[in-house]
């Protein structure tokens, strides 16, 4: 029973990068199986990239050019006008100042809706793993059960509760809702992480005189960076991509980008401006997309961790 290291996978210590491959496998041969594999992978990549390509070229065409058909054709006279319009001019309901208000609303919602659930989930996971209060398992079970109840079921009761509390349709309301719905997964994530931390580390900190908060803030939280990153990725994408909760709870002044995008695209008056729609859609998807690109390996881990939520 050898515990090699008390050091949990800190970012530098635990890259997901491929392990060193034996030298004899370094030279690949082009077997039919391998060629088939590449054909399949290329096909899959095309399948997912083609819509993105269409979106980008369409967003840079004028409406006249779009009406001529040929959705795969490159723009004859590339223009950024649709992007400008989407960002700051298109009508998103009553107002016509683009999706930028939605963007900043989404930022205002996402930042606290990421930080608060992570902090609370970390405290929960820490308390459940190390302090094991009476009934901790029951509490954890209830929290997990919460993860399996569909969001839609809870919307009406939550609306009533918020209205009663007088915060319905405000920024605190939508943040609170995201906090509540994020709690089970955040807690599970941190609990599982802390369960792999040797209990002796906690005991050593107790002997050194650490209390609940000091051990959390000075010992456990600093070594939680990997799981914090994973949690942040999950929470940011989840909150940014949310439509229904934002629509119901955020209120008219805090409509997130996703709701405004829907308003832009599903407009029933005037001409459908496909180029503006495409630009607005790409703008809305930009934040999660950037997250995918800049956090590659962490994101894979986030998906793997998310796989347990059922």
């Amino acid at each position: 029973m050898k515990m090699e290291s008390i050091v949990p996978p800190l970012p530098a210590a635990a890259p997901v990068a491929a392990p060193a491959r034996p030298a004899r496998r370094a030279r690949r041969r082009w077997t039919p199986a391998r060629i088939g594999l590449y054909v399949f992978l290329l096909g899959a990549a095309l399948f997912f990239l083609l819509p993105l390509y269409v979106m980008i070229v369409t967003s840079m065409k004028s409406m006249d050019e779009i009406r001529q058909g040929g959705i795969f054709a490159l723009p004859l006279a590339p223009t950024l006008q649709p992007w400008r319009l989407a960002w700051s001019g298109v009508c998103t309901g009553a107002a016509c100042d683009g999706v930028r208000t939605g963007f900043w609303n989404s930022v205002a919602i996402t930042v606290p809706s990421t930080i608060l659930p992570i902090l609370l989930g970390a405290v929960n996971g820490y308390a459940l793993s190390f302090w094991r209060p009476r009934g901790a398992n029951v509490l954890f079970g209830i929290l997990m059960a919460g993860a399996f109840v569909p969001v839609q079921v809870m919307i009406y009761p939550l609306v009533r509760v918020m209205a009663l509390a007088g915060i319905f349709g405000s920024l605190p309301a939508i943040v609170l809702v995201h906090l509540v719905f994020g709690m089970p997964v955040m807690t599970l994530l941190f609990r599982n992480y802390y369960c792999n931390v040797p209990h002796e580390l906690f005991q050593a900190a107790r002997i050194d005189g650490g209390g609940f908060w000091r051990i959390f803030l000075q010992v456990m939280l600093p070594m939680s960076l990997p799981v914090v990153v994973v949690a942040a990725i999950m929470q940011v994408t989840g909150v940014w991509n949310d439509y229904i909760l934002g629509l119901v709870f955020a209120g008219r002044d805090n409509m997130p980008m996703m709701v405004q995008l829907n308003n832009v695209i599903n407009t029933t008056t005037g001409v459908r401006q496909y180029n503006v729609n495409m630009a607005a859609t790409i703008l809305t998807a930009l934040v999660p997309l950037a997250l995918y690109f800049f956090s590659g390996r962490w994101f894979v881990r986030g998906i793997a961790a998310g796989a347990v939520k059922g």
Binding site: M3, L10, L201, A204, G209
Partner: protein, 350 residues
């Protein structure tokens, strides 16, 4: 330096009694080793002294003060764990000073204590490193240093050397003994390794099933085991056991295969189990018993020769270069004054 006294201690974990009515007194400056197989409750006992496990009844006194329900940090203890339990995000220096910083010790005093501990443990050059950059032996030194800077009254060790390889283990074991000689602090040390127990302890406590089987100096426990469990647990190769009878004169006999002359202190006229340690089985031409060699284990500086006589397998330590082969019939004798006798039913020493 402080004494530790446990009175009528009971610990139940998950509905299972782990420690039962245990009394134990640790003298100031003593190096007490708790020895036993895994699951015997020795670690739980140590954790209860540290305050990491709640007791169900009984009292724990450290340095004459009742500490039964005190917080771990108030007990004046320092503890070293098997997995080192260093704070991975802190440097060696911060690891050692964490407790002092929490207690609000003045900076100069922290500096003095850390420097002193670092010098004692040859950690001076490593103070700025993170635990991940240290070897296993260095990590355990830091963990010991962390206990040292607390200037604890009692040091607790929970199998501190079990994660190290054999060579480092022996090295650190000697360092620990030197440290105890230098500091003279009370130390309580849990292990399942009898070599550590024998070499380090001023007294050994052998435990099984949550109860103390025997307390005594290493020599005492080894030479005069209180029962068959202690006799079998200590010693490698283990003690051999032979069932037989003690006659009216106190002579031991087993179907004419084994016999021992009478001895004053020995009870008479009852069944008994004879316990023989390998070092008291001597192979020589003048031996009064004959056995067959079944196995030879060369150990470099000596060899272990396994003999069969009757149903018993006896090991004999041979310290010269004589050659034996399986199947050889050799004469040997048993040092009758050094054997142990046990009750066949209770297993207790007669």
């Amino acid at each position: 330096m402080a004494n530790v006294s446990l009175r009528k201690l009971n610990i139940v974990l998950g509905g299972k009694p782990i420690i039962r009515d245990l009394d134990l007194c640790v003298e100031p400056g003593e190096f007490l080793v708790l020895l036993g197989p895994s699951g015997c409750g020795k670690s739980t006992l140590l954790h209860s002294i540290a305050g990491l496990v709640d007791t169900d009844s009984g009292a724990i006194e450290i340095g004459g003060r009742d500490m039964t329900d005190a917080d771990p940090s108030e007990r004046g203890i320092g503890m070293v764990f098997q997995s080192y339990a260093l704070y991975p995000t802190m440097t060696v220096e911060d690891n050692m000073s964490f407790g002092l910083r929490i207690a609000g010790t003045p900076k100069a005093e922290i500096r003095r204590r850390v420097d002193r501990a670092a010098a004692m443990l040859q950690l001076d050059a490593l103070l700025r490193r993170k635990p991940a950059q240290l070897s296993g032996g260095q990590r355990q030194r830091v963990a010991i240093g962390r206990a040292l800077v607390r200037e604890a009254q009692v040091f607790l060790f929970d199998e501190p050397l079990s994660n190290l390889d054999a060579k480092l283990r022996a090295e650190l074991r000697r360092e620990l003994k030197l440290l105890h000689q230098t500091l003279g602090s009370t130390m309580i040390y849990v292990t399942h390794d009898q070599v550590e127990a024998m070499t380090l302890a001023s007294r050994i406590v052998v435990m099984q099933g949550g109860e103390i089987q025997q307390i005594g100096t290493p020599l005492d426990v080894y030479e005069r085991p209180a029962n068959r469990f202690v006799a079998g647990f200590l010693g490698a190769p283990p003690m051999a056991f032979v069932d037989g009878m003690l006659d009216a004169q106190g002579r031991f006999e087993d179907d004419g295969l084994y016999w021992l002359p009478a001895h004053d202190a020995r009870p008479a006229g009852r069944p008994a189990v004879l316990g023989i340690r390998p070092e008291y089985v001597e192979i020589h031409a003048g031996g009064d018993l004959v056995g067959e060699v079944t196995l030879v284990e060369p150990m470099g500086n000596h060899q272990v020769v396994w003999l069969r006589r009757g149903r018993a397998a006896l090991a004999s330590l041979v310290h010269d270069a004589r050659r034996f082969a399986p199947g050889d019939r050799v004469a040997f004798s048993i040092d009758a004054t050094r054997v142990s006798l046990f009750d066949p039913v209770s297993g207790n020493r007669l």
